[in-house]
């Protein structure tokens, strides 16, 4: 047993987190910033933060992740990091020549109270920012919220680059939340089918799922441009996918620039995708083409074909709130039973939403925001499940408890494909259901007695 010291008996803990279901803010800000075209994310803190975030993102995406750091020493921790950041800005524009530097803070620079906007002012005044280049900054104290909060904070800072001209541009802002590059590509494809002209931000497609061609471009073709971000204040509306990841940016555009917004769930599964498509055609005033209805019908068809294997199967899942809420709805909609849910990210609404979504289930549901995988594992020991869904760290629980396991979420360190194959939308739904069915039936094939082993299911 790998997690051999995890007891079945649950004792309440108030001080120690064991096997977290979250990480810290800055990595979220770094991921979001990679979704801006020509952007170099910059970590204002010790160099270890940047090294860890780059490593984690690289292991997940299997793609180059460039980001720089202020490389604080003890001296800068005492006297403030302004000199380091100013020097960094100069070096970055001279050596790497990005369009924009997206700076996020860390627990270190937040604790000593560095003020990014004041340092940016100084950089502009001193002429270290070449003409036409941009600095954007987001506070991401690691001791508040989680990686999801950091993502949201950087996306909000991106929205705040808006420079409304007063004239609507007919576009719709779509804020996809922390989903895979493949998911962002799929959202753009669906919007194109629906005929909606969208600005997707951030957009890591074309950045973190690039080709191998013998050439290295530090700033790949993908990403939302600074010009597009400036234009998002002229949009006719904003669709924010996910309360935790995307709502703050949408609300900022609403209150500050009068761009109306709607907060939707992330489009995982049939119903959430239905709501996304419906909202998109309403806000952009277009007609949904037959092609999209056809894709929807295929997903419904697959659900009906696979339903017999899903019915009343118990699932434990962990990950981030927006993803878990949408996935819980999806699982419930195919008559599976999510019974244990843990996110490390705080937010009371999470538990409330999950309770609402699962209220008709024939089982008691354990749900915890600010939980950890140690607790999830204990719940599973007390009430076993048929399937576990979560990031790679789940494999230790899955192996010990012998549970079929689907890798979904961040980070996935030991499998590939998530960069290329979406799980959002109807097509993503097909892929996800295929994964679920394979996991369940592979297990059945492994475990069934010889006389029960069958060719046809």
């Amino acid at each position: 047993m790998l997690l051999r010291h995890t007891p079945k008996e649950i004792s309440e803990r108030s001080a120690v987190t064991i096997n977290p279901a979250k990480t810290c803010q800055p990595i979220g800000a770094m991921y979001a910033a990679l979704g801006i075209h020509g952007c170099l994310p910059h970590s204002h803190g010790s160099q270890g933060c940047c090294a860890y975030h780059r490593s984690a993102l690289t292991r997940h995406y299997k793609e180059p992740v460039s980001a720089s750091t202020s490389s604080f020493t003890e001296g800068s921790s005492v006297f403030g990091g302004q000199a380091n950041l100013l020097q960094a800005i100069n070096n970055i524009f001279t050596v790497y020549d990005p369009e924009i530097i997206a700076v996020h803070t860390t627990c270190l620079s937040e604790t000593i109270g560095d003020d990014l906007s004041q340092i940016f002012d100084k950089a502009y005044k001193e002429g270290t920012v070449p003409k036409g280049k941009t600095l954007v900054g987001a506070p991401t104290p690691s001791y508040v919220g989680s990686h999801v909060t950091g993502f949201s904070n950087m996306v909000k800072a991106m929205a705040d680059l808006a420079e409304p001209t007063g004239k609507k541009n007919g576009k719709v802002n779509v804020i996809p939340g922390w989903v895979e590059p493949s998911d962002m590509e799929e959202i753009k494809r669906l919007a194109k089918l629906v005929g909606a002209d969208i600005t997707l931000f951030p957009d890591t497609s074309g950045v973190l799922n690039g080709p191998l061609s013998g050439e290295y471009h530090m700033f790949p073709q993908g990403g939302v441009t600074v010009a597009e971000l400036k234009g998002c204040g002229d949009a006719i509306g904003t669709l924010a996918l996910g309360e935790w990841c995307s709502a703050d940016a949408a609300r900022l555009l609403d209150t500050k620039y009068k761009v109306p917004c709607r907060i939707l769930d992330m489009p995982f599964g049939l119903k959430a995708t239905d709501r996304f498509i419906d909202a998109l055609r309403t806000i952009s005033g277009t007609v949904v083409p037959e092609e999209v209805s056809y894709e929807r019908g295929q997903l419904v068809d697959l659900i009906s074909d696979m339903h017999q294997y899903f019915y009343h199967k118990k699932v434990a899942l962990f990950g981030d709130p927006d993803q878990l809420i949408a996935m819980t709805e999806f699982l419930v909609s195919i008559d599976m039973c999510p019974v244990h849910l843990v996110t490390g990210t705080p937010g009371k609404r999470f538990e409330k939403r999950i309770k609402e979504l699962t209220k008709d289930m024939p089982f008691e549901v354990n749900v915890r925001a600010k939980g950890d995988l140690f607790l999830l594992h204990q719940w599973i020991k007390n009430e076993p499940v048929d399937l576990l869904i979560g990031n790679t760290y789940g494999k230790y629980i899955a192996r010990d408890e012998d549970i079929p396991f689907i890798r979904w979420g961040f980070p996935i360190l030991d499998r590939q494909g998530h960069q290329y194959f979406p799980t959002v939308g109807y097509k993503g739904g097909l892929r996800f259901l295929e994964k679920v069915l394979n996991a369940l039936l592979d297990r059945m094939d492994r475990d069934s007695a010889e006389e029960k082993f069958e060719l046809v299911y």
Binding site: L3, H5, S11, R13, A15, V16, T17, I18, N19, P20, K22, T23, C24, Q25, I27, H42, G45, S46, Q47, G48, C49, A51, H53, R54, S55, A56, T58, R59, K62, V65, S66, S68, T69, S71, F72, T73, E74, G75, S77, L85, Q87, A88, N90, N91, T94, V95, C107, L108, T111, I112, S142, Y143, S146, L212, S213, G214, E215, Y216, G344, Y393
Partner: protein, 545 residues
């Protein structure tokens, strides 16, 4: 745009250096110029390199932080101690199982390596202090797991808000009674790289664990293996070989290690140092306090393994051991030679670049040499000058502000337990035969004249090097992997070995030969261009029959 395809002129090292520095702002170029060196054999000496100095803000470095060196490198591989990280959640999360340290705890041994512990500091802890939460976390851990030791790691904000983790540790140790509790002040901003964290870890491990268990340990030819972290199972392979030779490993710092190994390390008669950078402090302290001499060894590469085994045997000087070692070598080598001679036909003449660690950029050159591959450029991420130029420069090293804040502990000979392992005469006799104690000559004497030695090589320089010199393989860490491979050049991680290993010892050498053969000869590197990209101009119209 950088493309790897274009080289083809032979670059002079001086021109390469000039190219690397060309784009930098003047101040950056001046600093980097001292860290980029063209290796040349001077009379009785090597050229002086600047190392262990601050990273330049904004220049995309390969380095990590002090916490990573302390918790990740030194303490991470130990299985029966609970490592509690005091700070916001990220630091503990990122160091959770990501270094591929393997351990063998048996079916029911204690093993906390798959676990991740953190106080997950919140803003209220930053404002009001986190000492209470830390003490409560230690109590909760003790109540659930009853481990023999809990160690605490400080992260950046802990030092800034002034949490006294050492006092909390002392109090909790007294309160719990049967659990050793101690702390590391390894805030990420200390020092200039991981290196400071190694030093801090060495000091605390030595102070709080080494020498605790005075029970006699069974076995002949007792050694400590220092600076071996069992990444990808390296330590397992070295243990296998040592066991076969009849050598007893009392402790490994710290691959596949246990609390008791640290506590009993003073019972060994020789310390063998693998990674000089990360652990030489412990080797020195062990000698001063207990009289255990140390030698530098290297188990990376079959020839180096042989050399190291013979060195250990020579130290003990027992004919039985010397014969046994020779027998083991004779038994192991045919399998190694068979693979090597096969692989050589496909690897000989190829070139490599290595930018990794504080030792591996040196050690792995031996393996490449066995495959007929030449290392044309190499350097360390976090080494000091002695790792480049040899320990003889240590007395001349300047201690700057960033090193001065790393505690140096005073160690004296233990009044009861100091016991010279050899008499002066015995030591002299060994030295007269050319046997070297406490000696490490560094990477530079082993590299070809004209090779580029680069300290703290960064992303920009790495790409430039690949673009200009087009090596057949590039070795560094995960952050560097994919930008190099986008250029069409295979990249091997030598921190965590991708998903491979072991590469140490005899079986490891075989694994490495095969792995490098696979990488440099993979068909994938020939797929970069589609047919229509190779010849975009249509020369004739194709007519369907």
């Amino acid at each position: 745009m950088a493309t790897a395809k274009k080289k083809l002129v032979q670059w002079e090292p001086t021109d390469v250096k000039k190219e690397l520095l060309k784009k930098y702002p003047a101040k950056v170029a001046r600093k980097r110029a001292k860290q980029i060196l063209i290796n040349e054999a001077l009379e009785n000496t090597t050229p002086e390199i600047t190392a262990n100095v601050r990273t330049i803000p904004g220049i995309i470095t390969m380095r990590g932080c002090t916490y990573a060196g302390c918790k990740g490198v030194i303490m991470g591989p130990t299985r029966d101690i609970i490592n509690l990280v005091h700070g916001p959640i990220g630091c503990s999360f990122y160091a959770w199982l990501t270094r591929r340290n393997q351990t063998d705890a048996g079916v029911d041994g204690e093993n906390y390596i798959p676990y991740c512990f953190s106080t997950d500091m919140q803003d209220s802890d930053i404002i009001f202090g986190g000492e209470k939460k830390l003490a409560a976390a230690i109590q909760e851990i003790y109540d659930i797991f009853h481990p023999k030791a809990i160690t605490i790691f400080a992260t950046c904000p802990v030092g800034l808000i002034g949490d006294d983790i050492h006092t909390v540790a002392r109090n909790m140790k007294a309160q719990l009674g049967d659990c050793n509790v101690f702390a590391f002040s390894c805030e990420g901003y200390k020092g200039v790289s991981q290196s400071a964290g190694h030093h801090i870890a060495n000091n605390q491990v030595f102070t709080h664990m080494v020498g605790e268990n005075n029970d006699e340990k069974a076995g002949e030819y007792k050694i400590n293996l220092l600076g071996e972290y069992n990444i990808g199972g390296d330590g397992f392979e070295i243990d296998r070989i040592l066991r076969k030779c009849g050598i007893t490993t009392i402790s490994t710092f710290s691959g596949n290690s246990t609390y008791d190994q640290f506590a009993s390390a003073h019972k060994a008669d020789l310390s063998c140092v693998m990674c000089h950078r990360s652990i030489n402090y412990v080797a020195d302290m062990m000698e001063t306090k207990f009289g255990i001499p140390w030698i530098k060894v290297n188990f990376i590469g079959a020839k180096s393994t042989i050399k190291s085994l013979r060195k250990i045997a020579e130290y003990f000087g027992d004919q039985k051991l010397i014969d046994r070692v020779e027998a083991v070598i004779a038994e192991e080598m045919p399998a190694v030679d068979a693979v090597c001679s096969d692989v050589l036909t496909r690897t000989a003449g190829k070139t490599a670049m290595l930018f990794v660690g504080g030792s591996r950029a040196h050690h792995y050159q031996d393996l490449f040499a066995e495959m007929g591959m030449k290392t044309i450029s190499a350097g360390y991420e976090f080494a000091h000058r002695d790792d480049y130029e040899g320990r003889r420069v240590i007395p001349t090293l300047k201690v700057d502000a960033d090193s001065r804040n790393i505690e140096e502990i005073e160690v004296e000979a233990d009044p009861e337990r100091f016991k010279p392992r050899k008499t002066e005469a015995e030591l002299k006799a060994l030295e007269d035969k050319g046997f070297k104690f406490k000696e490490y000559d560094g990477i530079m004497p082993d590299m070809d004249p004209g090779a580029l030695v680069i300290d703290d090589c960064n992303q920009y320089e790495a790409e430039k090097l690949v673009e200009l010199m087009k090596p057949d393989i590039f070795c560094a860490g995960i952050k560097e992997k994919f930008s190099i491979q986008k250029l069409g050049v295979p990249m091997k991680q030598l921190h965590s070995y991708d998903s491979g290993g072991p590469y140490a010892g005899f079986k490891g050498a075989v694994n490495f030969y095969k792995e490098i053969d696979r990488l440099v000869n993979s068909k994938v590197w020939s797929y970069m261009k589609a047919p229509w990209q190779e010849s975009p101009e249509l020369s004739a119209t194709y007519v369907w029959e």
